[in-house]
Symmetry: C2
Subunit: 421 residues, 2 copies
Amino acid sequence: MKALKGNIIFTASSEKFEVYENSYLVESEGTIVGIFKELPSHLKGIEVDNFGDSLIIPGFVDMHLHAPQFQNMGLGLDEELLQWLEKYTFPEEAKYSNEQYAKRLYTNLAKELWRNGTTRVSLFSSIHRNGTEILMDVVSRAGIGAFVGKVNMDRNSPDFYVESTEESLASTEEWILATKDKYNLVKPIITPRFVPACSVKLMKGLAKLSEKYNLKMQSHLSENESEIQWVSELHPEFGSYTEVYDGMNLLTENTIMTHAVHNTPEEIELLAKRNVFIAHCPNANYNLSSGIMPARKFLDAGIRVGLGTDIGAGHQIGIYKVMSRAVQSSKMNWLNSGKVERCLTMSEAFYMGTKGGGEFFGKVGSFESGYSLDALVIDDENLGDRDFRSIEERLQRFIYCGDDRNITKRYVAGKLLSEPV
Amino acid sequence: MKALKGNIIFTASSEKFEVYENSYLVESEGTIVGIFKELPSHLKGIEVDNFGDSLIIPGFVDMHLHAPQFQNMGLGLDEELLQWLEKYTFPEEAKYSNEQYAKRLYTNLAKELWRNGTTRVSLFSSIHRNGTEILMDVVSRAGIGAFVGKVNMDRNSPDFYVESTEESLASTEEWILATKDKYNLVKPIITPRFVPACSVKLMKGLAKLSEKYNLKMQSHLSENESEIQWVSELHPEFGSYTEVYDGMNLLTENTIMTHAVHNTPEEIELLAKRNVFIAHCPNANYNLSSGIMPARKFLDAGIRVGLGTDIGAGHQIGIYKVMSRAVQSSKMNWLNSGKVERCLTMSEAFYMGTKGGGEFFGKVGSFESGYSLDALVIDDENLGDRDFRSIEERLQRFIYCGDDRNITKRYVAGKLLSEPV
């Protein structure tokens, strides 16, 4: 057993922050036991890491990141989605057939995740099985919790970056068997890229693999208007993009659908019924001129929403930066909706980036009893006077103005992470 | 004479970047002489600062920053403009009657400006003459070029933070006389806060002081819908917010008007006719739910547009971060306008944050001959592979993904700046 001592703040619900000033966060074997202002007599004498006036917050959860696009961050952002994929993304991802390249770049990515306090992440790898296993090794060694997906693509893809349906399904199953029980905190996830790049046979085959091995799934949905138009041309037999995935058995309570910028009320209803997770990636939606995701509509429909960096369309690794961007975006939705769709509050954005996305990983993202001790220590001394600021204001200031230098410790499942090498 | 050697990139016009790889930027007495691939024979032997594979770019120009709101960065952003002013801004600015407080906080601000490569800035101070002079001293000692304005407010302001019309005009004139010839790179600027806080007599008196002493001017225009409504109620005798300022003789080619989020075509025409500068502050416009400033409309009207951080409504000191935000904003304008108003390109946003705003300061913000040598050295080694990236791509990556750690040297008028103390 162990305790972290400091100013503890988290969101058990999205409505408000829970604050425990100068208190003890006690864990046993990586799981939270409770929060105490003073240690009760039976806990006296346990190891205490005292972080003084620092903040202690849950680790950040990134629901959507393309690991092999790390080198492309901040590049090509004068393009929209489909052109950007052709010109920047596919050529870069194709390089991950080279194992040396994969190892070097994935290690750099792991360092950036560590620096920025991402403790759980759902990753897209490339179509390469070997590269995907290298990514799993790297992330596992870094101590970060992750779902990692070998990407599947068997149509409408460049000659240099495509698989046949059969080899895609076969190599995916081999990869699942090789990795599903290999790591403690890193697991395979079924990852059809998106409808335009996956045949019906491939998508249905992947859904079957998910069922056979009880695996989670992730894909993209309704990011860009041209993409949606393309899907409707490819699949006139379905009423919507969402219905295509549903027809392939890919929409379940264990599925993340990313973006959801442009969906009809009927699609939102179907997503709610299937109880999928939505990964909201505001930076990427701005950068590729996709639009503003109407987060409030999804929340009002009872849909679980987390945050994603969407590297490389998104340009910032820190989920705290995505939180402030999500709030900014929601303010434009409020204006565009004639002041009907309420803005996201800071606590709602924080919840999305911790417990909201964390639910996909289990009991993750909160400091309630029974949750995994995934925590960050935030030293905000350089961000301005602290004495007359509330803990909540200090957290808000870190989210808006802080960076990785303010994050001084990272814990996952109770384990202190050192910088990946 | 001296030369900086490296990969030189800047925008002489907004349409494109000028790139000189591995070249010499030669200055004499703080003014740029030229750029050379090899030093011509008459320049052989001058001092060369060789920055290897680093980028050399113009210093950043911030057209709008409230110095006494520095402590409020990232706070109170669940409010709109008028409520935010009451609850957060005025109480904080009032503290700057305390000279110790002013000195400590303004020094912290100067450090952040230095760190983030802001070499020229137009500052709002508070209503306090002494605090304003402290700010001028601090900024001048830091070597940063600045216009600094004592703020004027004589109506609709809280009891604890307001002046009478007479004392406002009198103390402004005393302050002008005390400071107009005191510094080399720091000058006073006439600064009525905004129409709601300034009587007609005050605004007209300030315009006269501007004329009498040949001073520049700055204020706020059409940030928020409630503010605009308030102005129309205060001044039914004028047809628009812009016409109020014009009626007070405050719109000249030496005036910065900040925000301009909501203006009619007639107002834009008037602003163009008066040849004012517009300070575009996208972060602040998001954070206070003000709206998206239609930058393309202003550019199409031939209006000079620069960028502003608008600390404390804006939460980021780095103008490079405002550049990426301006591009992101313009993409939403493109969508909202039915894909009519073209997005800002990276070179347009860079131009705004260097030469565009720089024109307000003289020959500033470009590396053409005759311009002030205001320059930054950017070491982007940590931002990803450089070998197969163009200089333009590397600059774009710094703008989107870099931070103050990438800025290794700052020059203003040829002088290397050391960290303010």
